[in-house]
Symmetry: C2
Subunit: 405 residues, 2 copies
């Protein structure tokens, strides 16, 4: 009943209908040509976005909220499917990939900035934008391909989560530099400790509190209540994470890890997966809609953009080879780290909003984000081959007319 600021309620509902239908249709088409559905959803976002059809405006507050719910649901689902012991077991490998995957792209991006004659601060922001990994996109592709439980996937997920935590530390530091603030070793240490400490503390407390809590809820009554309660937990942990200086998506992933060992995991997963079918595509469409394809007409933008794409891919792929002791396919790990997605766009937007990046540099960074994001799904698909047949695997396969249990 309450009208939405800016757009009227019917307009919002119509846009939402277009997002859902567009994401599902282009997603299905992507699967028909052998690509992960998420690629189609990103493309649907580009098509619906301001630079082509102009139906979806990625900065509308209502879309921001629904997209944020989408990425929270997605990371919660991923956490729910993650075995914490296996994740910690691949911790050394993942940490190596993450650290090399931050250091190499940062240095290479900074080098590209210097080579193109940029001042110091823009070069740092460009380098920082290259450090991110979009855990959402990689995890979604691995899930679409039915590969979440592979050894390579565990390393990629662990490294991508670490990368998100490290990325936040870098974002905090870069934001302070951009604002002209003082960056001391102590402030960097505090930011880092908070980011990692939150996950550790939440896991320690939650492992004790969460399973009995859901056991009690299950005895209280209705199994249909479990998924909404789990989502409430995910929202709570997400906000706590953001409040202590970590990120919403880290909190959502942690909440998923907490619900994974509960006896009610199956009921939670059933409900949250259906919710994800609705919310998650909204997130990917909004990421796609943030892309303005018109900015690529400028040759200067294209030049530095192509250089950034090259170091974006090379830097992360090399990081995949850093843990020399790892027995799995190192190329899969490296390629899995390539997509920058929304995290890269946040760096670009921070730079643009503060004036450190001009419109051209912003476009070049955006080009790097888009190409790396769009390159990874088909590359992973080509490396990993078709989805292995797994009865009872999560939805997302291409089996037609098969009703889900």
């Amino acid at each position: 009943m309450a009208p939405e600021a800016g757009a009227s309620l019917p307009q919002i509902l119509l846009t939402l209908a277009a997002i859902l239908a567009g994401a599902k249709l282009v997603g299905e088409l992507a699967e028909r040509v052998g690509q992960p559905a998420v690629l189609g959803e990103l493309l649907a976002g580009v098509l619906l976005g301001p630079s082509i059809l102009g139906l979806v405006h990625p900065d509308a507050p209502w879309l921001g909220l629904l997209a944020e719910l989408g990425v929270i649901v997605l990371l919660f689902e991923i956490g729910l499917e993650t075995d914490l012991k296996r994740l910690l077991g691949s911790g050394g490998t993942a940490a190596t990939v993450a650290l090399v995957g931050v250091a190499l792209p940062f240095l290479m991006g900074f080098g590209v900035g210097e080579a193109f004659g940029l001042p110091r601060l823009p070069s740092i922001v460009v380098g920082a934008a290259l450090t991110a990994t979009s855990v959402g996109i990689t995890a979604r592709v691995l899930s679409d391909l039915g590969r979440l439980q592979d050894a390579e996937s565990q390393v990629v997920l662990g490294a991508a989560v670490l990368d998100d935590i490290v990325g936040l530390v870098i974002l905090t530091i870069v934001s302070r530099m951009v604002a002209g603030g003082e960056v001391t070793l102590a402030s960097v240490g505090t930011t880092t400790a908070i980011a990692f400490g939150f996950v550790a503390a939440a896991l320690l407390v939650g492992r004790v509190v969460v399973p009995p809590l859901f056991g009690l809820l299950a005895r209280l009554g209705n199994p249909a209540s479990l998924a909404p309660m789990a989502l409430a937990l995910a929202l709570l942990v997400s906000v706590l994470a953001a409040q202590v200086g970590s990120a919403l998506i880290i909190g959502a992933f942690t909440a998923g890890l907490l619900c994974a060992p509960t006896a009610q995991r199956h009921d939670i997963e059933q409900g949250v997966t259906r919710l994800g079918h609705f919310f998650v595509p909204i997130f990917f469409v909004s990421v796609g809609a943030a892309v303005d394809v018109r900015t690529f007409a400028n040759p200067a933008v294209l030049g530095i953009g192509v250089a950034l794409v090259a170091v974006a891919v090379v830097g992360k792929v090399l990081a995949g080879f850093a843990p020399v002791w790892f027995k799995g396919r190192k190329l899969v790990v490296g390629v899995g780290m390539v997509p920058r997605g929304e995290v890269g766009l946040i760096f670009a937007q921070t730079g643009l909003a503060s004036g450190v990046l001009d419109a051209g540099l912003f476009s070049a960074v955006t080009l790097m984000v888009i190409v790396s994001t769009f390159l990874a799904p088909p590359a992973l698909k080509a490396l990993l081959g078709p989805r292995p047949g797994r009865p009872g695997a999560e939805a997302g396969g291409s089996a037609s007319l098969v009703s889900e249990a």
Copy 2:
């Protein structure tokens, strides 16, 4: 990423967590004491709302959007479970209940206004607020009790839908009177024809278009896509309904009727029901949060409020007895028509916003809406008894630890 106007994103997410957890917890408690879950969700809204805890503000735009999605999902679900042939079969009975259930409460409410010495226009608005039936609340209670397929429920649903259409016509006319505009027989006729014509036209066109459309989608690929596509259809039909002068919820119900005979109904229902577990409680919490319990401290408000409650109950219960030929339990039909819910609140708000109702009269009408809404669920429960055992019935029962298929 985009901050929400007014409240910050973390605040919104935290409020949403409180709404989900509160609705589920108080809903479960309501079921434990033998009441429908919706009663608990309404109570959770009152508790969380501005007059008690102050955590949920019912006029926040984001909450309005999520609540609107909730009522659209709910009415779509109800339409999906409705057999159009049976609904039309009880058409004469339903139409009689609806028309008497509009005329009697209107005249009685107008009479109360005259008796308390109100001017003509406020008396008309008060009478109009008494005509509404909240199809959402009644349908949800019948669904909670597993009674949607009963003969009485079909009459109540049919009458409540007609009532919503008639209510819109009345709202349009009253709004015109309140604005000082001219109300002619021709304008009333046009408004009525549009409201009924939309449903008829949508059903005629949709019955031809929708089943092959979903057949094509099912062949295209993923059954997980069907529910989001059905929701996109529901949003589209809802907006079309609103655009031609009918209401969003009428469109959502119509879209459900259209999907009911498709071969993919089961997949659609599975997905949309899970979505409903999330969105529908948000709607009922927001209805509950619109209640300000503090206004009832005024004795003058209480006097006219109690008189309105009496005619609200008596008028609709008598309407249940109007179709003398109906073989079912007429008292169930009458009580099913009692809750005014959000529709009554819209009348009250229109009156308040235009200045026709002062704060006291607004509170009296609100009291009528609350009591009628809170009275109906336990009364129906008492009349209908416990939920009949139906294997594979929709979620909402109290079987614990039983995982849903």
